[in-house]
């Protein structure tokens, strides 16, 4: 049980790390269409050039860890999300090569601009779709019954748009730190539009889910859970207001940090709603877990490498701190 809990925690952390890290660099791509000038686009891209592929590696690691630690869940869940995952992968490939080729291209630069923006928006949207499908659930028993396009419903489109806005907010507040002048000004404005939007989506999903899912309702609104859990939404609401205040006051660093806080608290809320299920209402973590021998074996590697990775990631962000004023040139 200890091993299973450890791995559930590790995988939650990996997913959250991925969402935060790739979230802001996808966000930069999402904001691309609103900045027309090529020189500012260069700068926007340059702020994430050194880090984006490291960020994306967490996605691969998440997959590998998930199917080693919870193979049953991985094997059942992924086929049901076939199309969204394939589209996500293709969007990420296009976006990845856009980084590569945009700075090399001259006449064809607009193609890579489109690839970068469209790839980022599509990837974020699909991640939201997957989130929505997961929240919506699969009924109550195995084998899962679902139609071929069960992932494409008004609710999942709603969560898809929500994630696009959320990542855009992460990207905009990231750019506030990394840029100045005109571009920074633009990003302050964008953030002030995006933050209320994100708040709206969060509130809507938070109200909608407990109404539809009695289990979620019970988790949050039964006593004594209510007392323990109520600080969470309260803190989240406070973060939103404080974030808006910081944007008004033109603080540079706090909006990004507060947006990360917003994501973390929403994510914790999501985990509380979902616990202990790895496939909602169908498969709890302990039924999906790999045998102890496997969990032990991979824990050795994770215990050695993950701390190094976290430190290294922090270090590389430290190396790249400061404003980006010129293009990181190829």
């Amino acid at each position: 049980m200890f091993l299973i809990l450890t791995w559930a925690t590790i995988i939650s952390l990996i997913i959250m790390t991925y969402v935060l890290l790739d979230g802001f660099d996808l966000g930069v791509g999402i904001l691309f269409p609103w900045i027309k000038q090529s020189e500012f686009r260069d700068i926007m891209m340059s702020t994430v050039v050194p880090v984006w592929d490291g960020n994306e590696t967490w996605l691969v690691f998440g997959a590998a860890a998930l199917y080693a630690a919870f193979p049953t869940a991985y094997g059942i869940l992924l086929p049901t999300l076939y199309m969204p995952i394939m589209i996500l992968l293709i969007a990420l490939i296009f976006r990845g090569v856009a980084f590569e080729f945009r700075f090399k291209a001259h006449k064809s630069q607009f193609i890579w601009d489109i690839a970068f923006a469209a790839g980022s928006i599509l990837a974020a949207f699909i991640q939201g779709i997957i989130l929505g499908t997961f929240v919506k659930g699969y009924g109550t028993h195995l084998p899962l019954s679902h139609s071929a396009y069960h992932w494409f419903t008004p609710f999942t489109i709603f969560t898809g748009v929500a994630v696009v806005c959320g990542y855009a907010l992460l990207g905009a507040t990231w750019l506030i730190i990394k840029t100045d002048g005109f571009l920074q000004e633009k990003m302050f404005k964008a953030s002030k539009v995006l933050l209320p939007l994100v708040a709206f989506f969060l509130v809507s999903v938070s109200i909608w889910t407990p109404i539809v899912e009695p289990q979620v309702m019970h988790r949050w609104f039964s006593l004594p859970n209510f007392y323990y859990l109520s600080p969470l939404p309260i803190i989240t609401i406070l973060i939103v207001f404080y974030n808006f205040y910081c944007l008004q006051k033109k603080k540079e660093r706090l909006p990004f940090i507060l947006t990360i806080g917003l994501f973390v608290f929403s994510y914790i809320g999501f985990c509380i709603s979902a616990w202990p299920y790895i496939i909602p209402h169908v498969l709890p973590v302990w039924e999906a877990a790999a045998p102890p021998s496997t969990l032990k074996f991979i824990l050795v590697g994770a215990a050695i490498i993950l701390p190094i990775l976290f430190i290294y990631t922090l270090y590389s962000y430290h190396v790249f701190r400061g404003k980006v004023k010129t293009i990181i040139h190829y």
């Binding site: 590696t57 193979p71 094997g75 076939y82 394939m86 090569v97 590569e100 994770a302 290294y312 590389s316």
Partner: protein, 460 residues
Amino acid sequence: MIIDTTLLSRIQFGFTIGFHILFPTLNIGLAVFLSIMEGIWLKTGNPVYLRICQFWTKIFALTFGMGVVSGIVLAYELGTNFGPFISTAGGVIGALFVYEVLSAFFLEAGFLGVMLFGWDKVGPRLHYLATLLVTLGTLFSALGILSANSWMQTPAGFHIDAGKYIVDSWWAVVFNPSAITRFLHMVMASLLTTCFAIAGVSAWYLLKKRDLDIAKPCFSFVFAAALVIAPVQILLGDMVGLKVFEYQPLKTAAIEANWKTQKGAPLILFAIPNSKQEKNYYEISIPKLASLINTHHWNGKLIGLKSVPRTERPVVGATFWMFRVMVGIGFLFLFIALFAQWQRWRGKLYNSDRLYRLCILIAPLGFLSTIAGWITAESGRQPWIVYNLINISQGASIVPLHQVIISLALLVIVYGIIFSFYLFYLFKLIRKGPTSPAPNESVADVITETPFKYLAPEGK
């Protein structure tokens, strides 16, 4: 053959993994090559070797980026297309992938940046350490993958409890019966492929009479290396063949297109195997040789395909032909290496335009041979995902057919596009050639012109 989801899933996985393997194949070889060249540079201080390293590092970086991009897809495809397989055996195979990702991750995060962009930032010894660690990382990654695939061929070290695979000994899983020989066979394939890729590029410079100071030592070195590697690879191939015969006799039967169980089976040089009629057309064969090769006895007994029902037989045509492509190219490489050595003895290594042209022509063949080898191994494993334990039909996901058609079509188009761009930039790098040492240009400036520069942790 019926077109169903399972078949398309297999085609899709084969296509994406075949595409992916091209890049690691070159990179494992290049990493070893760079380690040697940088070592020579450190030892001798001859600036030519530094320039060789810098030039080939650019190609290494470009290729590494492609490997990363195409690798992401595979981890997810295992779940999307082969979900039930992961559900049952994920506890074994997943752990091997975790270690593979961790080592690749670690290498990428830590040392690749130093290797690619650290020429100016760290001392030569530390830089060499980074190069060696990256090389070690690529080899470790390859071991993870080969170990996982070999476990699917020759599973060991586990017991099955209530349909789940529970590992008793990780040592037995990682070093399952065929893992080490197949790992070495793949590493040697990488080295040999890289030798001939480098030979091709160098030959092009020699033919154009440019960058001779770089081209000549490379050309000379890879042929000396190939002279050792090619025979070793053939020996390893034989060892792999013995393992196949021991653990997967039906794969051997498919490789030899051998329908009935017989002693002293002939080696078929050419045939068109027909699975429906269970026989070969237009067969040209050498008596008893197949038995000698597979059992090391003239009258060794080979099990025939007809000894099992049709549904348990591997894909004969693909296995038979791809095996011949692989072996044919291997021997071709050996003969060319011998020929080059003969030229060297006669002092004519550098004045044979014909040898240069030949080298350019065959430069991509190593990749073809590697792919052919993998097709042999994988179609010969059919109809099993995990040999004799999980049938392909139990392991494939149930997904609407049209969704797999759409994803396969999209992947073919997207990979076609990005591969074209890869080749475009690869040839551009080759045409541009190794930069001549300009007095004001620092080493890092030269290197930072490479694509995939963003891999640099301290890029500018």
